[in-house]
Amino acid sequence: MHEMGIVSGILSSAVDAAEKEGASKINDVRVSIGVLTEIQDFALQFAWEALTPGTMAEGGELVVTYISPVSKCSQCGTEFEHDRFEIVCPDCGNFVCEQLKGRELTIDSIDID
């Protein structure tokens, strides 16, 4: 249920940015989330619906792009996609890898009126 904390973060940044632009309504908020963060989509949308009423984002949409994990092998330099569990270089079998993608928690943009 850390999705509540995540959505409060999204909402406060979105409302700040919208207020700066003199907007009266937020139509949608676009975010990127890495799948390694273990954020559940249904819990995220549930939190959005619970937290937005009474704010500028009421009735607005939360649009999420999920980012697959990518790592780089520290031994041979191969960059490879992987799942949440097995992070092993497909070329040389090394598991000492640098995480390049998959931990994102970013607000990309908002659409306002």
């Binding site: 904390g5 992070i87 092993v88 928690l105 970013t106 943009s109 908002i110």
Partner: protein, 220 residues
């Protein structure tokens, strides 16, 4: 109208955490964020750590729980300053809660602050509090399959404590498999088998912690 933001979602938490961290570094206080499921032995591990290091260092504890003062009272009973944070339902601590909690502590007099996060293997992982290290405890009765189910916490922990190690023969816990999976998720984290309530296996952990405490003290 579309407006670009490109900002971390947890921006506010991150900024307050960096303020916390700056303060900890200035004061030369090493701060540990201890994470585990409910019942894994977080409080027992803290008590064992206090017993091992209290002659050498001044220690305080921040207790995060959804409700109650039970843990803070256990720690205070040993003459160690303890601040209780009640999250009122939230499943993890955030940096503003830590900011308020440290107001009750005299950081000038401290070397080590241990934060006991809310019992949970998922939520505390994403929230930076300003700590120097996140460490996790898995207890033997929880089972060796937990890294498959909660990979994130095993990836971000800087050390893994395997608690209730004395019950290994009672539970069907495959230590070799557990070690192999943890290593594949996080090759750098040392593992410390421990039986916190019996004080067994605490030395290696205390030694690791001492090195980290000294590093922060010497650079402040």
């Amino acid at each position: 109208m579309e407006i670009d933001i490109k900002k971390p979602i947890l921006d506010r938490n991150e900024r307050l955490a960096q303020d916390n961290r700056k303060l900890f570094d200035e004061k030369g206080v090493f701060v540990l964020d201890l994470m585990a499921s409910p019942g894994a032995g977080k409080t027992s591990t803290i008590l064992a750590t206090i017993a091992a290091l209290r002659d050498r260092y001044n220690i305080a504890v921040i207790e995060g729980d959804i409700a109650s003062k039970v843990d803070a009272e256990k720690i205070s009973a040993h003459g160690i300053p303890a601040v209780q944070i009640n999250t009122g339902g939230a499943c993890h601590l955030e940096s503003d809660m830590i900011q308020r909690a440290i107001e009750a502590l005299d950081l000038d007099e401290l070397d080590l602050v241990i934060i006991e996060n809310v019992g949970n293997l998922v939520c505390p992982t994403e929230f930076y509090l300003g700590e120097h290290a996140k460490v996790m405890i898995l207890s033997v009765p929880e089972g060796h399959d937990k890294p498959y189910k909660y990979p994130n916490i095993f990836q971000i922990a800087e050390a893994v404590i395997l608690n209730k190690y004395d019950t290994l023969s009672v539970f069907d816990f495959d230590e070799a498999e557990f070690r192999a999976v943890v290593t594949s998720l996080n090759h750098a984290a040392p593992m410390f088998p421990m039986s916190a309530t019996k004080g067994e296996g605490v030395d290696a952990w205390a030694e690791w912690l001492t090195a980290r405490i000294e590093a922060v003290k010497s650079s402040s």
